[in-house]
């Protein structure tokens, strides 16, 4: 698995398109939110900015990159090549997604720490870490599921849009309007509970037990995505 991860990392830095999609776009968007934090804090809250940053990196840096990578590796039969070795399927997948996942976590950590330093630290940093980890797990699951229905890297530009825009839209909606109304709907939407968790972690004012309960819908999305991926994921292109 480490051997695959090592070469995957090398490929990320050699492919400009992946580099721009994975790093430049999420970092630029996050920098914009941090730069205009006064405006966004006025509209919503500091927790909202943290949630938007989390889902921007999650959607573009992690989710889209993984779907594109897996589709590309399948299309050029690299997945089949890896399966002609002694490596297990789980090991292959882990090796392929590990570098992007670690880089997304490093990006998130860096951006949120900077945000905490310039705009005030979160009320409960550990809860914020939990929100990030739960979001990363959900986006990973959704990426594996989406890769199952994505035929090529070009096709990924279309298939990743609903989830990418969806989770950022849900995070914006909940971040700005809160959960006083349509609470159940907002929590059940993908990313809804994780957004609320980040809002609670950053803004405070909610009992820890009420916040931890929000992990359940997020992990339900992870389970659903993994179930879908286990049925739909393909290792070779359709013939």
């Amino acid at each position: 698995m480490l051997a695959i991860a090592r070469t995957e990392l090398a490929q990320i830095f050699r492919n400009r398109l992946v580099l721009v999609t994975s790093f430049v776009i999420p970092v630029a968007v996050s920098a914009f939110f941090l730069y205009r934090r006064d405006v966004f804090t006025e509209v919503a809250s500091g927790g909202y900015i943290a949630a938007i940053v989390m889902f921007t990196v999650g959607a573009f840096g992690l989710y889209t990159s993984i779907v594109t990578t897996l589709a590309a590796r399948r299309q050029n039969l690299f997945l089949k090549r890896l399966r002609s070795t002694a490596q297990s399927d789980a090991g292959i997948l882990a090796g392929l997604v590990a570098p992007v996942t670690v880089l997304a976590l490093v990006q998130l950590a860096g951006i949120l720490i900077v945000f905490g330093l310039v705009a005030g630290r979160p009320d409960n940093p550990l809860l914020a870490v939990l929100a990030v980890l739960a979001t990363v797990a959900m986006m990973l699951g959704l990426a594996l599921a989406t890769a199952g229905v994505t035929n090529s890297p070009e096709h990924a530009q279309v298939t990743t849009l609903p989830v990418s825009l969806g989770v950022i839209g849900v995070a914006s909606w909940i971040g700005i309007t809160g959960t006083e109304q349509l609470e159940l709907v907002k929590r059940l939407l993908p990313g809804g509970a994780a957004t609320e968790l980040m809002l609670n972690a950053w803004n405070g004012g909610v009992a820890l037990s009420d916040s931890l309960f929000l992990l359940a819908p997020t992990f339900a999305w992870v389970a659903l995505a993994v179930l879908f991926a286990s049925r739909m994921f393909r290792w070779e292109p359709r013939r």
Binding site: A3, I4, T7, F78, K80, R81, S84, A86, S88
Partner: protein, 293 residues
Amino acid sequence: MSTTPVIEVERLNLKYGDFHAVKDLSFEVRPGELYALLGTNGAGKTSTLETVEGHRVATSGTIRVFGRDPRDREAVRPRMGIMLQESGFSPDLTVRETVGLIGTLTRRTDSADRVIDVVDLTRKATTLVGQLSGGEKRRLDFATAIYGTPELIFLDEPTTGLDIQSRDHLWTAVDRMRENGTTVVLTTHYLEEAQQRADRVGLMHQGVFHHEGTVAELTRTLPAVIKFALETPAPAPPLPAVVEPDGSLRVETFELQKDLRLLLTWAEDHALDLRDLSAGPTRLDDVFRAIES
């Protein structure tokens, strides 16, 4: 050397929807032999090969490689090398990185530079795979298959796209491995390669074996052909001959040497010149053409 078959296939069936690609196929590959799996287009040989390699799941039947299910990668793959029909390499990795990665994942021990040298790609070791020619990619594929000198190698169309020098190079490497006991399973469209090198041949047509045996056994199923033309008028030849559209005569025989001698003696006795005389043993190409027709 052990006589237990390296590969055992029993009543293999493969279906894609309603299409029955492989029907009740049974064969075995013995240690150290070169087994050529040949077939007409769409015969099911790639499906069979990929199932034996563990890339596909059989609809029914039993497959054993080294006595194990070929999908048990951890147990089987360290002992086998696979040269795929299509390359399947990442264009953003160098030749050395690619060989190193695949080699490491096979869990065999070797040096990437050694196998790169065997396939004559040393000058390209730091070149990205995306910049290699088709022939160079085939050689890279071969390098990953022979990394760590496995006990069994699958060669799927190994010389397609290779120039003559590269082909000779590849076969020299295969011959060297066979001297050390490596078993080889080959598919190829270059029938002369199979004819020259295969210990046994499985000849597939429409999902079943049309013939299986040594090259000699296969070619023995068809008569050899003697072709010649005569100045007219000439006496009737001593063997039954068919007149071809171009006016030449065609004799089919299962006793080539005896009948050829008879024909030459007859021509000498009658002071005849056998124009455009050609004679040769039956080749795998002839068996193929007979199946396809």
